[in-house]
Subunit: 285 residues, 2 copies
């Protein structure tokens, strides 16, 4: 299969010029924000974006402000030519890949924070992460001005943070979430899976099975606390070296559920570590 080279915009001005030309032709625009390291999960977002709008922009920016010191900012997979080829084949119209200087000019000093849904789970493990995410996504949305933006449910808490921000700040864009794309054994696709050693990979595959079993137990009427304790034990048993969290929370606002059986739409959330690799996943109840 051959695909034409994907046009690339490096500046806000170039991005806006292209989007304005599409708008002048009456075409709707969808944005898929990514940090690159693309896999089938990202490409599913791009294909969904194509269904929603005739023009699709994918942004590629490894955003430093959502990484803490000591996290994997430097190690994060970067291969723009490979990402661009995958995007072209998936039907993306424009790759927006700004420099750090374009995104964060001298004197940059504005932060968007979302309370409540940012607080638990990853908000505890990664204290400034969601402020970095909300701020950069607000920039990308303002830079591109899409009709719709598409995000994966793998980062479910991030999706809630972005939905809340867009609602609270009245940003004129529709946010669409897409179910997680998985390997055959259930492992959620993630750019960070590339860090896993051959020995770690089968252990990682058990993460999804354990939270699916937890969701099943909750559906069967078991108490939240007992389900969490069982799942935590199963993760340790499976070989996960450190558990950031395994918690059952409300699907809409991440409120704590229990004690006892659940009485509202819920989701099981997990973040666990294998060596230097941090894996997250979630599953609906």
């Amino acid at each position: 299969m051959t695909t034409a080279a994907l046009p690339v915009a490096r500046t806000v001005a170039a991005l806006r010029a292209q989007v304005a030309a599409w708008r002048a032709a009456g075409e709707r625009v969808a944005l898929v924000p990514t940090m690159g390291g693309l896999h089938e999960g990202h490409l599913a977002l791009v294909r969904r974006a194509r269904d929603l709008a005739p023009r699709v922009v994918t942004s590629l920016f490894v955003n430093p402000t959502q990484f803490a010191p000591g996290e994997d900012f430097d190690a994060y997979p970067r291969d723009e030519p490979r990402d661009a080829a995958l995007l072209a084949a998936a039907g993306c119209d424009l790759l927006y890949a700004p420099t750090a200087g374009e995104m964060y000019p001298d004197g940059f000093s504005t932060t968007v924070t979302v309370a409540e849904v940012s607080a638990p789970l990853d908000g505890i493990s990664r204290p400034h992460h969601f402020a970095g995410v909300a701020s950069v996504v607000s920039k990308l949305l303002n830079q591109c001005g899409p009709d719709v933006a598409v995000f994966g449910e793998k980062d479910y808490q991030q999706l809630l943070v972005i939905r809340r921000m867009v609602r609270d700040l009245d940003m004129p864009v529709q946010i669409v979430g897409l179910p997680t794309v998985r390997d055959a054994d259930g492992l959620a696709l993630s750019s960070r899976n590339a860090y896993l050693t051959p020995e770690q990979r089968p252990i990682a595959g058990q993460l999804n099975a354990i939270i699916k079993a937890a969701a099943e137990a909750l559906r069967g009427g078991e108490a939240v606390e007992a389900v969490e304790a069982s799942a935590q034990a199963a993760l340790s048993q499976a070989g996960f070296e450190r558990l950031d969290y395994l918690e059952v929370r409300a699907a809409d606002d991440l409120a704590r559920l229990g004690p006892g059986p659940i009485a509202a739409p819920a989701r099981v959330f997990v973040a666990a570590r294998l060596g230097r690799t941090r894996l997250i996943d979630n599953w609906p109840v």
Copy 2:
């Protein structure tokens, strides 16, 4: 003089419908955000907005999140019929007067903060003020989607905060600042001047004369510290009961200047109190 009744939008949807109709007709739109209590200073902003765009929206919303407990949120002047009549006469096309529920629905939890330029001056006297301002202005800009928004230089620090926010978040709008409109004795027009007693009013009139004299002394080469000390003494002498600040700072980023004579574009900033009334002003050097 008779003027047609001014159309009023109470919801984001109604505002957007009107703005979309103007856009469909190829018309540019300007926004003038206000908290009501309109005076000639606001009307100058509306007239300037008219010069910048054929369609002018003025928002009227007394924003609770920029007042601290104990400040004058409840006492703030509210007279929408009077404001609407003044706006109609000044050439405004639409009054956008949302309810608090429309602006801050249940679960509202997003804040926009601007570091650095928010920190000194009013940022010290009113610690959460500029986060409230930045957040509500980002909402108003997103709700209306204007080409240009006009603000007064009387709230000079606020203007810098908004400019920085718009630049940092890449909001697609031009921000225009307008010189302060003043009474004959130099008192900057302010909705809060209505709080002044007949005894306080002549004292208030000296505020501007004192910072003008300070700017003159700086232009003459006097040291920042000496000028600040003289002006502070003059304010006390004039009868101001409490001084929040009188400081000379850089005009672009509010950096501290001195010691010694100034070497960059500067501005003299003051906030002082007469009874329960807090007055602010600023003057270029």
